[in-house]
Symmetry: C2
Subunit: 126 residues, 2 copies
């Protein structure tokens, strides 16, 4: 699996082809957002293969940096993400998945990974 | 500026102190989301100083990887981000800012950086 290389600056911003700008590890950041509520659920990573499988299958597939392996969300936990829409940002180093989330996005069992609020003093749980 | 180090696994997930898990470049990912509409506006990066300035001042401050410098969003463009809430994810390698965005979040002049939809064939602009 390979994509055409990123273009420079404004050409990349206006490209109408997918030209992901992978980092030194070959990854782009991927944000998963609940398609209905708008809640941001999690941030994970995708390599070229994960991105292509996500586009082709409509299921969110990530690259697990801790396990060094493709990670089809929900295969173990049952907490699948069905992709409603995939967006890319201006320079194509980040993607935004709007998903229908089964159960919890977070491995802690919470709906979203962003369950703590940072204040100047500490973190509070919401 | 320094933070206590990340804890391991479930201790980190439940920590009630800010213990950012910076990557090899000393950065965490930062998602900016419109506090009112829920629209995801951009993804950028923060080092410890950017994160602390954001918490202390209520203005979004990022680390520009291209310029290798702190970047107080809006200082040049006028497109400031006023922070309503800061959340951190389970392992604290990503933060979510809920912001009031002045003007455009994207340097292309668009409200959000995620203005293209990926399809199996190409990108379309929304």
């Amino acid at each position: 699996m390979s994509y055409p290389p990123p273009l420079s600056d404004s050409e990349q911003d206006e490209a109408v082809e997918l030209r992901p700008k992978f980092d030194a590890e070959g990854l782009v950041a991927a944000i998963a957002q609940d398609a209905e509520t708008g809640e941001v659920l999690m941030l994970a990573w995708m390599n070229a293969e994960a991105l292509q499988q996500t586009i082709d299958t409509g299921r969110a597939v990530y690259w697990s940096r801790s396990r060094n392996a493709l990670w089809r969300k929900g295969d173990t936990s049952g907490h699948e993400q069905h992709v409603v829409e995939i967006r890319v940002d201006c320079d194509q180093d980040a993607v935004l998945l709007k998903v229908r989330q089964t159960g919890a996005a977070c491995h802690t069992g919470r709906r979203s990974c962003f369950y703590r609020i940072a204040t100047p003093e500490a973190l509070t749980k919401s």
